[in-house]
């Protein structure tokens, strides 16, 4: 990787934003598993594995699976956030591998939020 010049940052930012915002590109959904120490202790790794297996089994080429950190709500871990194109992010709590499979099936593929496991929709206040 070549060393960056100040103007390169903007280029990377633009490229990444398209990916993160699912705006342009192949991805239709992003699955974020919250993997802080707390999440992992509560079983986030097994949840991540379940998401991974399910995405692979269903051959979902347009789903990005990624890890992020603790969402702050440690008492309800493991947690995951599901983002579909043009929909507000949905946070799921108290997950298990079984619930993860169900969420892929119903929400990521079917487009219907699994109400029983969902905590809320939207993003937190920043700034």
């Amino acid at each position: 990787m070549a060393k960056l010049k100040p103007e390169d940052l903007e280029r990377i930012a633009q490229k990444m934003k398209k990916l993160i915002n699912l705006r342009e590109g192949e991805a239709r959904a992003r699955v974020i598993v919250h993997m802080g120490t707390c999440g992992i202790a509560a079983g986030a790794r097994a949840v991540m594995t379940a998401f991974m297996e399910e995405v692979e089994k269903k051959d979902l080429k347009d789903v990005i699976l990624t890890a992020s950190s603790c969402a702050g709500f440690c008492s309800r871990e493991p947690m995951a956030t599901i983002e579909l194109v043009n929909e507000p992010a949905v946070k799921y709590v108290d997950l298990t591998p079984e619930k993860a499979k169900e969420i892929i099936e119903k929400h990521v593929i079917g487009g219907n939020i699994v109400k029983e496991y969902a905590l809320a929709a939207g993003s937190e206040r920043v700034l």
Binding site: L4, P6, Q14, A67, L119, R125, V126, L127
Partner: protein, 603 residues
């Protein structure tokens, strides 16, 4: 005076999605409809929802439009601004409201939080520098290196009112100024002299996990903050002192450092500006005293990690004798935001003396345990009852402990207290680094004060006799009190000893270790007196003071308790009242648990 304010977000994200075109179109339409005197178009910074940009907020109604396109504007101005009919199809609300679950900002846990240090939590992949960059990452570093002099950076941090988040709350800008002056002085006689910046991620307070979470969630925010600090103070090397019990944080920080180096954001000639800076991780062994800055420095130097007398302060003679600036993880995490969004923006959040936000690890007897970032000035009640959703099992709140073992207890009647360095201090507690332990009515104050003292006593390096012996003696007296052997003059002696330990210990560990005792003596004196005079532990925790008995009128003589008692302390025949032999009783409480008619009880 304008009737409506149209706030258009012009953060980089929204601009890249065409926010400026929207702004021009808006202004043109407003003129076309002769609404110049009615509507003011204002440019604002990121709203946090800029993924949906360009976005427009109309105040005072608070209507939120998203994904705007130029062609939407004539209709929007006509319908909303002229005729007062907000355009549903462009509104954000419509989208969330069709969702069958609550909005995140209707959830009390999230509603009152405001994320600055934790701005990227749960949003970006902490192992991807590109995702950090996408969320304005390293923008502040570019700004500092290309548009600001070191003095200007320090002035900005100073004007923001940022204070150290590691415990003492020292103004960060002032500290940087002092360090820069020392660096310049040293370099004038020895141009090759080093200077260091250090990130203190020792985080030794029991129950605290703020700093760990920040490093795990957003390691680049620390690297960026330290790089800006190093530029401002003239340092060329940095250390991150991370405790070895935080393997995930260490792993993520290592990856982040590697990525930053590959991008040339660390190393030589950073961003082609001639600035050189390197960061190393030092894995600390996890002793509480190593969080104290002079100990921490000795620990990196491979010396015995004991505190030494200040002055000299680290700014004058720190790591290997060179000027050194130490800040806490959360302090560093705020730096880039202040440079990006200005001191004026930052100083508008919080209270007169305590600007910005504070991250707390909310733990103990509270429904929503977790990591929260709140604006300074929020009340304890809001944190515990709104964000924390109150106390489990309908118990009553007894006290909140802030500031870890160096902190103090705040009684339930002071819940209206705003969280602010000065207010907490007046109440006998401290902000500390952000541990917040909630305690319900089943907590014994003497017992819990003892818990913290055991911790500090174990962690004392033993150098000062007041700290080493003082803590041990305090524990001995507290042990006597909880064993029912307390004497009436114990309280006066406790107080005197506490003050002596405070006065005569060299470092912050000894100076603050009496705080849990002093603050409980101040707010919960009656409970000490109950233990000493009445030989009673109101919370039923101090076993020696708890008495188990069986109510003769209620006992049916079912013999269940006698059969279950592990100490065989209960006697009685079938169908006649039983009794407990207090000499044999070990106060395990099993009789109360098994009794079906509520005859066995404790007092």
């Amino acid at each position: 005076m304008q009737r409506l304010h149209a706030l258009i977000c012009t953060c980089t994200n929204c601009i890249s999605n065409g926010a400026l075109k929207i702004k021009n179109a808006l202004e043109a339409e407003i003129v076309k409809n002769s609404l110049e005197n009615d509507i003011l178009v204002v440019q604002t910074g990121a709203s946090g929802l800029c993924v949906k940009g360009p976005i427009l907020t109309v105040q005072p109604e608070g209507i939120f439009y998203q994904y705007l396109k130029e062609k939407d504007i004539p209709n929007l101005v006509q319908e909303h601004f002229l005729k007062g009919r907000p355009v549903k199809s462009l509104m954000y609300v419509s989208e969330v409201e069709k969702i069958p679950i609550p909005k995140i900002n209707d959830i009390p846990f999230f509603k009152d939080q405001r994320l600055i240090a934790l701005r990227n939590r749960g949003v970006i992949d902490p192992e991807s520098i590109d995702e950090y960059i996408a969320n304005d990452g390293y923008k502040a570093l570019v700004k500092a290196l290309t548009k600001m002099s070191p003095e200007e950076v320090i002035k900005e941090i100073d004007a923001s009112g940022l204070r150290g988040r590691g415990g003492a709350g020292f103004p960060t800008g002032k500290k940087w100024q002092i360090c820069r002056a020392q660096v310049l002085k040293r370099k004038s006689s020895d141009p090759s002299a080093s200077a260091y910046v250090i990130c203190n991620a020792d985080e030794g307070d029991p129950g605290a996990f703020m700093d760990r979470s920040i490093v795990e969630a957003d390691p680049h925010s620390i690297i960026e903050g330290m790089s800006i600090g190093a530029y401002a103070m003239g340092a060329t090397e940095g250390y991150i002192y991370l405790r070895i019990e935080y393997p995930l944080a260490i792993e993520r920080m290592k990856k982040a450092l590697k990525q930053a180096k590959e991008y040339g954001l660390l190393g030589e000639n950073i961003l082609d500006t001639g600035f050189n800076f390197e960061i190393k991780i030092f894995e600390g062994a996890g002793a509480f005293v190593c969080g104290e800055e002079t100990s921490l420095i000795h620990s990196i130097e491979s010396k015995v990690p004991e505190p030494t007398q200040k002055p000299p302060f680290p700014a004058e003679s720190g790591l290997w004798g060179f000027p050194t600036n130490i800040n806490n993880v959360e302090t560093w995490a705020n730096v880039a935001m202040i440079i990006n969004w200005s001191a004026v923006w930052f100083s508008k959040i919080g209270t007169e003396t305590s600007r910005g936000t504070k991250v707390f690890s909310l733990a103990g007897n509270v429904n929503n345990a977790g990591l929260v970032e709140v604006p300074m000035g929020i009340t304890l009640r809001e944190i515990i009852y709104d964000i924390g959703a109150g106390i489990p099992n309908n118990k009553k709140l007894k006290a909140v402990q802030t500031g870890g073992p160096s902190g103090g207890f705040i009684p339930a009647r002071l819940l209206h207290l705003p969280v602010d360095y000065e207010r907490l201090k007046e109440a006998g507690a401290i902000m500390g680094s952000g541990g917040m332990v909630v305690m319900d009515e089943d907590t014994c104050i003497v017992d819990i004060a003892k818990f913290f003292l055991h911790f500090t006593s174990d962690e004392s390096c033993g150098k000062c006799s007041t700290c080493r012996e003082g803590a041990a003696t305090l524990i001995e007296i507290l042990d006597n009190i909880s064993n029912g052997e307390g004497k009436e003059d114990d309280l006066a002696f406790l107080e005197e000893l506490c003050l002596a330990v405070k006065d005569a210990s060299m470092c912050g560990l000894g100076q603050t270790l009496p705080n849990p005792v002093l603050s409980t003596l101040r707010h919960f004196r009656d409970e000490y007196i109950d233990h000493i005079k009445h030989k009673k532990c109101p919370a039923g925790v101090c076993k020696a003071l708890v008495r188990y008995s069986i109510n003769r009128d209620k006992c049916t003589g079912c013999t269940l308790c006698a059969r279950e008692c592990p100490a065989k302390a209960i006697s009685g025949t079938v169908k006649s009242p039983h009794q407990i032999d207090l000499h044999k009783c070990t106060r395990c409480g099993i009789c109360v648990k098994v009794c079906k008619v509520g005859a066995a009880y404790s007092e």
